[in-house]
């Protein structure tokens, strides 16, 4: 995310510098073009000024003529008559007004663009004081300044806002297309779950929207599982900057199904299927896969998943039992995968998920666009199929003892870790307490010392008092 923003930033700055350069070029062209004709007018204007300075003729040899011309493109020399009335002190304020003006009118740049590009003072600002002073009165009517930044940024902002609404609509349409295909009457989820939607009651909303890109669909009331949560993570179509970034780094709309299995319905299974490259990453990064499972080599003498995919499993037995003939025929086989599997990303079943619900099936697919929702029908059909398969599946006693041992070991390790953490926390607490006690003691002792001091002083005073009394008594 941050990378995307920074890259975009870079692109933006490139764009802006490009624009400014082109303007500088235009500038120089213009200068060369009418440097001569404008001189008399400049003369005229300059004469009105009360600033004592050498005449214009002297400056002819200097590149000053360049600078003067910048003020000339202003078509109306009329306001020059105002200039005598201006004192030196007023000038800056008019300049400021001119700049203020430009901000003020940023909304209507359509009228200004033609005169301004030649007047861009991007490069000339430090060395054309007279053009500013002379043009000040003119600026009051026709502001002479670069609007490049305003136009570029303002129009970008407008496009951004328009895109926000269109992109939002696009995302909503995609999510609704999915819901219409898979969660309405007679659809695959309606046939498998008794409760659909995030609310309660008959006509509860099917989808829950979180932000502009995340849509959730919930279903419950099926054998073997407590519920199913489908989360659609769509592209940030509403955000123009992310959208531009996605042109460079493409990403996909994804849907993730989380099936929360009943505790007693799922045996000790750790199993995953993913594209070859992703599988390697998953095996290293996902904790339960890393701990309990390993990459499965393709078994010989058996139909297996296509070469693009690899299987991660706790044991050969589990992998062999979960990759059934039906699944191979429907999706993962050589023929079917080409046609139906292109939106498959990964699936991951585990009874050792971190978190509250440990037994979970995860399916991750890419979403096709709204008109081709049917492309993932077979993939979505995998979800109820595997719920039933896993729900009925029982490990053989041999495999079971193996997995049991692994889990006991893992549990022990986790327990040890927990113990260690607890002990550490206890020790830290102890140290803190000790420190606090010490501090309090130090404070107490300081207070005691102060008290003693006060007492001493009082005693001394007392000692002094009687003498005073005695003297007074005399």
């Amino acid at each position: 995310m941050d990378l995307s923003s920074f890259r975009l930033l870079f692109l933006l700055s490139l764009l802006v510098t490009h624009i400014s350069f082109s303007h500088v070029l235009a500038d120089s062209h213009f200068e060369g073009f009418d440097a001569e004709e404008d001189d008399p007018v400049e003369d005229d204007i300059l004469h009105h000024h009360s600033i004592p300075s050498p005449p214009v003729t002297q400056s002819d040899s200097q590149p000053l003529s360049d600078l003067e011309t910048k003020s000339h493109p202003d078509p109306n020399p009329v306001p020059t008559s105002d200039s005598p009335s201006q004192s030196d002190l007023q000038k800056p304020s008019t300049t400021s007004f001119d700049y203020w003006d430009e901000d003020e009118f940023e909304g209507l740049p359509i009228e200004q663009p033609p005169p301004e590009p030649p007047k861009v003072t991007e490069t000339a600002t430090p060395d054309d004081p007279e053009s500013e002073t002379t043009s000040k009165p003119q600026n009051a009517t026709a502001p002479k300044k670069s609007f490049t930044v305003e136009i570029a940024c303002g129009s970008f902002l407008i496009v951004f806002i328009v895109n926000y609404f269109t992109g939002k609509r696009e995302n909503e349409n995609l999510a609704l297309a999915w819901a219409a295909k898979f969660a309405t009457k007679g659809s695959i989820f309606e046939k498998n779950f008794s409760l659909l939607g995030v609310g309660e009651g008959e006509d509860s909303p099917l989808l829950l929207k979180e932000g502009q890109t995340v849509f959730k669909f919930y279903a419950s009331g099926r054998r073997y599982c407590q519920g199913l949560l489908a989360t659609m993570e769509l592209k940030s179509r509403h955000d123009l900057i992310s959208r531009l970034f996605n042109l460079v780094v493409p990403c996909k709309d994804e849907i993730t199904f989380e099936v929360y299995m009943n505790d007693e319905a799922m045996d000790q299974v750790v199993f995953a299927v993913a594209k070859k490259k992703a599988a390697k990453g998953m095996q290293k990064e996902v904790r339960d896969l890393q701990r309990f499972a390993g990459l499965m080599p393709t078994p010989s003498g058996r139909k297996w998943v296509v070469d693009e995919l690899s299987v991660i499993s706790e044991s050969k037995e589990v992998a062999g039992d979960l990759i059934t003939e039906t699944v191979l025929e429907q999706v993962f086989g050589d023929k079917a995968f080409e046609k139906y599997g292109k939106n498959f990303i990964s699936m991951h079943f585990s009874d050792q998920h971190p978190g509250l619900l440990r037994k979970m099936l995860l399916f991750k697919f890419a979403l096709p666009d709204a008109n081709h929702m049917a492309d993932i029908t077979r993939l979505v059909a995998l979800v109820p199929y595997y719920i039933d398969l896993i729900g009925r599946y029982k490990l053989s006693s041999q495999a079971r003892s193996k997995t049991e041992a692994a889990r006991v070991k893992a549990a022990q390790e986790a327990y040890k870790e927990l113990q260690n953490a607890r002990q550490e926390a206890l020790q830290r607490k102890k140290a803190e307490k000790k420190k606090m006690l010490e501090e309090a003691e130090a404070k107490l002792s300081a207070e005691a010392a102060r008290k003693r001091e006060a007492k001493d002083r009082a005693r001394q005073m007392k000692k002094a008092m009687p003498r005073m009394k005695m003297t007074r008594a005399h």
């Binding site: 204007i45 400021s96 430090p126 002379t134 419950s220 054998r223 599982c225 009943n262």
Partner: protein
């Protein structure tokens, strides 16, 4: 739970209305929320815009505006991406104030630079007016 009770009876229909549980949104701790990078960038640009204006840096005027404008654009992005309306709106409106302040300070900066330039030029005798 009751998942195994009527397996045999509903072999063809996997639905179990009795086992249905309504959706419970999982609470998300504020630490888990994604970081609002665009808001952060917006604030940086906003501050840069104000700084360029206040400090006498030898930079072009358009770059002063540019960073304030970029700040506003990134503000818009973070506005578009916000999830929790109440919380985020507060932060983003704060971030928005910075570039706005940058724009408001423009006149002062211009006055001071222009005055300096005027003095410099007239002192050197390049002034031709």
């Amino acid at each position: 739970m009751s998942s195994h009770n009527n397996n045999s009876t509903s072999a063809n229909d996997p639905r179990q209305p009795s086992a249905a549980k309504p959706y419970v949104a999982q609470p998300v701790s504020p630490q888990d929320l994604p970081v609002d990078y665009s808001g952060f960038i917006a604030v940086i640009f906003g501050i840069a815009g104000v700084m360029f204006r206040v400090l006498p840096l030898p930079l072009d005027l358009s770059s002063y505006k540019l960073s304030s404008w970029l700040a506003i654009i990134f503000c818009a992005q973070s506005l578009a991406n916000m999830k929790n309306v109440e919380n985020d709106l507060k932060q983003i409106s704060m971030a928005m104030m910075v570039p706005v302040q940058g724009f408001c300070m423009l006149p002062f900066k211009v006055v001071s630079t222009r005055l300096d330039q005027l003095r410099y030029r007239s002192g050197e005798g390049h002034w031709t007016g």
